[in-house]
Amino acid sequence: MGLEARRRGSEGSPDIHRSGDILPTRSFNDLSREAGKEIYMSLALNESDINRALTRISHEILERNSGSTEITILGIPTRGAHLAQRLASIIESIEGTPVQVGTLDITLHRDDLRLRAPRALMETVIPTLGVEGRTVVLVDDVLFSGRTIRSALDAIGEIGRPVRVQLAVLVDRGHRELPIKADFVGKNLPTSRSQSVKVSLREHDGVDEVRIEGESA
């Protein structure tokens, strides 16, 4: 919410700086002031970058697993679920066979429940073949602390016992707090902790892009 508000503020702001005025890279294209603090928003991935990354990840998943018959793709809502659907449709178009794809809500397994307001649960949809004895490919938009993935591993354990679990993320921004590593990464984005990575997807936000917001590292 805060980030959205800040972004709207920057677009309507009269003292918006032209891209390149302050920062020479093409990525830092928005810069505004709010309460005396400079907010940078740089475009890290555009629509075609995202499409290319997803296509590559799809091929990597197929290569690693020798096809798509043994895999079940589970996206973590909200944006991970959309990415999972996209990966599944790319893999289906490559292989010509349907892929097991679903969504996995991890809210009830989070370790920060007592620190925040309870949130409404998102839908969990497990495809017909389930996870028992299969290779689960977890999909999320941003890999950061790793705590979401830890929660997801617990949530999977409640549904069944997969033979292995792999992790695909669109963005790996570093700053892991747990020993968790992605198998398939769209883009590694080194960030500072004070920055935030905002993934927007057509299905949910109307546009495909990844932005880094906040003061630069």
Binding site: L108, H109, L113, R116, P118, A120, G160
Partner: protein, 314 residues
Amino acid sequence: MKHLLSINDIDKEFAITILDTAAEMAKVTEGPVKKLPTLRGKTVVNLFAEDSTRTRISFEAAAKRLSADVINFTAKGSSISKGESLKDTAQTLQALGADAVVMRHPASGAAHRLAQGKWINGSVINAGDGTHEHPSQALLDAYTIRKHLAGGTGDLAGLHVVIVGDILHSRVARSNVLLLTKLGAKVTLVAPPTLLPHQVEQWPVKVSYDFNSVLPTVDAVIMLRIQQERMSDLYFPSEREYSTLFGIDAERLSLTKPGSILMHPGPMNRGLEISAEAADSEQSVVVEQVANGVSIRMAILYLFIAGSQESVNG
């Protein structure tokens, strides 16, 4: 929001959130592992100053499936039967570190007193207070109706629910009228005039004394128990007459639309308000209501006690 004392405490949007959350809870508990770590380290006290089977074991099962520690506290065999006041009982529970107190009490307003008394820091969940309210029962009834008749999502707009029987003494009826109308359903009450509360004409419902005339347009029938323990006077001439006029049997059930459902909060008086044939018919969802009750109570416990208290519902 910290306490669940009355359906009036929650708005339509939050009611739907509770129903949606319960639907996801139901899915989780269908899996091979029925336990979630969500409330690990939280203590839920079931304070039941009045007899209950269903509600107490339902809250207990819900709390245990979410990994909370459960302490059961019933009037019989406790200090309540020795005459301890609610305040002293509450202070005992506070000393035990209760994060939530689920309370059933014979006095209307007892849950409100407990919540407003500032004797405890935890949440108070009303599990039935006298003839006042029973919000978790109304939520599970709405959930059951939504699952069968509204595709399992959204509100209950356009549905017609009839509540039959002892409206006067029924906390289930009060909570159900508030919730079902909030969710957009049309509610009709059917009862003998002696078992209708004063000023029922100010409730957002229709009232009828003729059960048969209502049945053809009804989507869900909620039968209420004749509460012998709350009846100090004679409210109807005989059980047989009540049963004939206001009980449901297979013949009456056949007047309803195909696909309509028959509900009862339990425990049933078979042969009085509901015939055995009707209770065991295909339209009866009485047993399913119990299962749905666990999901609803998991959702309530999760939404009211899992997070930090300052910003619940935010």
